[in-house]
Symmetry: C2
Subunit: 159 residues, 2 copies
């Protein structure tokens, strides 16, 4: 719970800069070693999902491409790129909050953790209500803005 | 052929620094706009596959997270992370050389291009012999080194 709360805190940082609110933290030996939040729009870069940013930081911190003994907590079920990165970095456990029926690659659309030699022990639905609400409130607000003030481009829901 | 040849040139740059020889280029309007080669070991970072490096550069160059009208040429079938990144960046076409029976995500182990709303038009086996030979020669040399000189760690084949 503690780590998912921190991931939610990260997601709120994304929300504060008008990004889809998704946050991630990486934990090793009961300590948070890396944090990340979605910056795809702000940085104009398809790679900058919360998980990728956190994995990049964790690799730099631990000084290797493998992240043994690490767990990742993400507010939303990872997309294929992020699930692939979790596997690529040999992260051992994944905990995610909200399910992503559109592009979740930990079971919702496909289950990458089954397809490859490295298995990631996955637990979905951690603090699911909080994580789901964070996203639904964001998109609700976005739709209201679109119909009213039109502050953001219409492609922002295209996560 | 011309673009795959450039991807092979990139792969050779990886080989020159003792990385698994994998290279990628991104093409838009018949021009190469980004290049990348595998640097996972050298940079100690799970994310630094050839495709990710090229996508990162292309996003910076075009100034957006979407890469419309772009094609990517890779010497090896992308892993799930890279295939996910190709989808995430909305790259339109993928051409790859060698097939990866162990972790290829464009058909060999799984086919991510089918699972998600964005479809990537994929052509495998482009200059397949050259791309496959590049890898098999590398691993042959590595095995000889291991049994003879033991210059590299035994986990390097773990692409």
């Amino acid at each position: 719970m503690e780590y998912m709360k921190e991931a939610i805190k990260q997601a709120k940082k994304a929300e504060a800069i008008d990004e889809v609110p998704i946050g991630a933290v990486i934990v090793k030996d009961s300590k948070i070693i890396a944090r990340g939040y979605n910056r795809r729009e702000t940085k104009h870069n398809a790679l900058l999902h919360a998980e990728i940013i956190a994995i990049d930081k964790a690799c730099r911190k631990l000084g290797g491409w493998r992240l043994p003994g690490c767990e990742i907590y993400v507010t939303l079920e990872p997309c294929p790129m992020c699930m692939g990165a979790i596997i690529s970095a040999r992260i051992e456990k994944l905990y995610f909050g909200a399910y992503d029926e559109k592009s979740g690659a930990a079971g919702s659309v496909c289950d990458l953790s089954c397809a490859l030699p490295h298995k990631v022990e996955t637990t979905g639905g951690v603090m699911k209500e909080d994580c789901t609400k964070l996203l639904s409130d964001f998109f609700k607000k976005l739709r209201a803005q679109k119909s009213g003030f039109g502050k953001r481009g219409e492609k922002n829901e295209d996560k």
